[in-house]
């Protein structure tokens, strides 16, 4: 039996001592997940806005598929990206496999459907309110999409946070395409799973506490920023 209290106190010592390895892992995790969310936002938000406004045959099928993709298992995404990026795969020439770049790609794939689907809902709600006014003003489709994304920024921040939470918490995809290489592709989640299996619970717990704290801090900051923005800009 391990000593839980001892594991906790050494976890805190690692954090308090600004352990270099620990912080390199934290930095990499944050960088990968933020980059993935940024890419997913650039693709997913306009896609979601388009799906909120466009009417075309087969739209329902696309929406159902998109909602289903929100629940993609990370290991499946990891496997698919692995196959694409592997030396023999169609994108193998980029040499991305087992680099942070591959992890960004995998997490972006994982998060894009979430941002597109939740973003679609947010934009559709806003369109209810704005639709006739924007048509009255004579806004063409492209302008409408941009306007709704900008005016929906408060609720879309929450959508991006949901995407970030998903990316930061997943382990399957980064494990497969990153390989959990020490000092290169080891993230908080892959490290936690490794340290736990090795029995180094102090490190695992320390990382787990930091992961929770980071996710909580990002959400708290976004919430506060949103509340402030809503108050000053209505």
């Amino acid at each position: 039996m391990f000593d839980l209290a001892a594991a906790f106190s050494s976890a805190i010592a690692l954090i308090a001592g600004l352990d270099a390895e620990l912080f390199a892992i934290v930095r990499l995790s944050l960088g990968v997940s933020l980059a993935a969310v940024a890419i997913a936002a650039v693709i997913g938000l306009p896609l979601g806005a388009f799906l909120a406004l466009a009417r075309f045959p087969g739209r329902e099928v696309v929406l159902v598929a998109l909602n289903a993709l929100m629940g993609l298992p990370p290991v499946v995404v990891g496997l698919a990206v692995y196959v694409l990026l592997s030396r023999a795969g169609p994108l193998g020439s980029f040499g991305l496999l087992f680099t942070p770049g591959a992890m960004v790609v995998a997490q972006a794939v994982l998060v894009t459907p979430i941002i597109a689907a939740l973003g679609r809902q947010a934009v559709a709600d806003l369109w209810e309110e704005y639709g006739e006014q924007l048509r009255s003003l004579g806004a063409p489709r492209r302008r409408v999409i941009g306007t709704l994304l900008w005016d929906g920024r408060h609720s879309l921040i929450t959508v991006l946070l949901a995407g970030f939470g998903r990316a930061a918490a997943e382990v399957g995809a980064v494990m497969i395409v990153g390989g959990n290489i020490k000092g290169l592709t080891r993230t908080m989640t892959t490290a936690i799973s490794l340290e736990t299996s090795k029995g180094d619970l102090a490190m695992a717990l320390g990382l787990g506490m930091i992961l929770l704290a980071v996710v909580a801090a990002v959400n708290g900051a976004a919430f506060a920023a949103g509340a402030w923005a809503r108050r000053v800009s209505g």
Binding site: E129, Y130, E132, Q133, L134, R135, S136, L137, G138, A139, P140, R143, T147, W150, D151, R153, V232, S233, G234
Partner: protein
């Protein structure tokens, strides 16, 4: 520039959910006159304005603007002020610059034109204020300023004062007068009979989705031709 007026409504009708909400509206809307659309709640006044403005498509009959312009060009000649206007999440000034950019006004001209429109409606001080935190009366004045900035040939107003206090209502009535004096055709609904008397040159009276009476305002108010209009003017509850 050729005029888009008169607007000819011909047997205009609209059905939804298996109900005929508006039918058989045939009337010309001519330049120079302030047309006030009156009628009890649910008569179809808002539907009529939305049909005219092109926000919904008629399910029977149709409407024809003069001048043979395409839909986008027609839209640029019109503006509409809603009962509760939707303002964008940006400053009052930004709201006006936005619509100027939609109308293709050169960037360097937008600022001056937007400021002029705000000043005209007494909003100069509030130019930098986020539009969505303005009071009800200020928001409606901003909606009017936004319409003013694009110099519409036709302005539709759907119950623009029904949520406003007397001072804000007066400001809207003055604005309607100014638009009219500058040559903009006014088509407006209201449930305020005093306001209708003050503003109307011509009245369209709707009841249960039909155009029951239309003619010069003086005649309508002094000698309504139908029992429905008499009852409406007498303030009786009807539907």
């Amino acid at each position: 520039m050729t005029s888009i007026l008169p607007l000819e409504l011909r047997g205009l009708g609209y059905s939804a959910g298996g109900r005929r909400l508006l039918s058989g509206v045939t009337v010309p809307l001519r330049a120079g006159m302030r047309t006030i659309v009156l009628g009890p709640n649910g008569a179809g006044k808002s539907l009529l304005l939305r049909l005219c403005h092109g926000l919904i498509q008629p399910t029977e009959g149709g409407l024809r603007w003069s001048g043979g312009l395409d839909e986008a060009a027609l839209r640029r000649r019109q503006a509409m002020v809603f009962q509760r206007p939707v303002l964008l999440r940006r400053s009052a000034l930004g709201n006006i610059r936005y619509v100027l950019s939609l109308r293709g006004v050169a960037r360097r001209l937008r600022q001056g034109m937007a400021e002029e429109a705000l000043d005209r409606f007494g909003l100069g001080e509030l130019a930098r204020r986020p539009a969505r935190v303005l009071s009800g009366g200020e928001r409606q004045r901003l909606a009017l300023a936004r319409a003013w900035a694009v110099r519409p040939e036709v302005l539709f107003l759907d119950e623009p004062t029904s949520a406003l206090d007397p001072a804000a209502t007066l400001a809207v009535e003055i604005a309607v007068h100014d638009f009219h004096a500058n040559g903009t055709k006014i088509v407006m609904t209201t449930h305020d009979l005093g306001q209708a008397r003050r503003l109307a040159d011509e009245v369209l009276f709707l009841s249960r989705g039909r155009l029951v009476e239309h003619g010069p305002a003086a005649e309508f108010f002094q000698a309504p031709a139908t029992a429905q209009a008499r009852a409406f003017l007498a303030g009786e509850l009807m539907c």
